[in-house]
Symmetry: C2
Subunit: 207 residues, 2 copies
């Protein structure tokens, strides 16, 4: 597999989301042109992105949606049920836990860590155990590579610990600044920053 650029990697989830939606609607086959309209990405870019994974389509025909989803899901991780952990079970953390919609879509949260595990265990309505943060090393699921960070402070220390435990990717909900250890990647989910970005753009539109 050729080196896939970050830009392309970022588009794959967009394709996958669209394909799942189309599949739900009973669409079986799609041309790059149609998908282009749907996701607002140039058809040539789509074909280029797809071609990096392999020969996914048939000339003169298009792409088989089920097949495509299967291939993407495979590229996403073994059996697409990557094990993830959640750190911090506050308001947002709970919302994430309760929102179980991504089971078998983008992995599964197998356990969570918090400073008040007893309280949190009662509060959450799902069957995901919450352990005390001090038990991180002890209860850490073997082979887990993704951690979702929802803590208000102390991110750096946790991140360092996670790095040592072999975590490669952080889904970062905190607004705290931390230095990312070598070899780790993160994706920020930051409402404030998102809004700010949008404001910058909207304002530069106005000029």
């Amino acid at each position: 597999m050729a080196e896939i650029s970050r830009a392309t990697l970022r588009r794959y989830p967009v394709y996958l989301k669209a394909l799942r939606k189309l599949s739900q609607n009973g669409v079986k086959v799609i041309r790059s042109n149609e998908l282009s309209q749907y996701v607002d990405i140039k058809a040539t870019t789509i074909r280029h992105d797809f071609s990096l994974i392999g020969q996914l389509g048939k000339q003169g025909y298009g792409y088989d949606i089920e097949e495509l989803i299967r291939i993407f899901a495979e590229a996403l991780g073994e059996d697409y049920d990557e094990e993830m952990i959640l750190i911090g079970v506050g308001r947002l953390g709970k919302a994430i836990l309760n929102y179980n919609n991504w089971n078998h879509v983008a992995g599964e949260i197998v356990c969570a860590f918090d400073l008040k595990p007893e309280v949190r265990n009662q509060e959450t309505q799902v069957n995901v155990p919450v352990y005390h943060i001090s038990q991180l090393k002890e209860k850490f699921p073997k082979g887990c590579e993704i951690a979702i960070l929802c803590i208000p402070s102390g991110a750096q220390e946790i991140v360092n610990e996670l790095h040592e435990l072999g975590v490669k990717g952080i889904v970062n909900f905190t607004r705290e600044h931390f230095v990312l250890p070598e070899g780790m990647i993160k994706s920020d989910v930051d409402v404030v920053s998102t809004i700010e970005e949008l404001l910058f753009e909207v304002n530069s539109m106005n000029k």
Copy 2:
């Protein structure tokens, strides 16, 4: 002001966040090199990005943090309290409403819309009125340009309506697909996609 690229626009919130943090810690002046280490963006890129807004720094000295924050905040919007609305006051919508931390940081949510306004008004602990979605046109705050979308379905219709009302930017929390009307921009805040993106990357790291 020269045309600022999308890539640069996306970095501004990162700078702003870092600058605020530094300011809190009592730092008054920063060199592009120091900021570079802090945010993990090359110093040359930072200087380039900054120079697009104006001559923000002093040679041989660095950047004055307070000044920088002021300039950024100004670029962000008048008096940095842009008015925003929230559509959909479910679990996530409520979390966003309650999380009032961004007042005077990235604008303010002035009102919200939902299918069950009475219930929602009781549930939320903040002083933001929730109106019925059918009252969107009626209660829409004049001049509002940003809408936060937290509804489980029916996004397209709402988006079209918002477009007519003059909304320019959508902060999109829905997983629903919708076509963005001409002249509108959106930013997706999608945990599943974020995790998927991370998985794609982590998996391509493993190879």
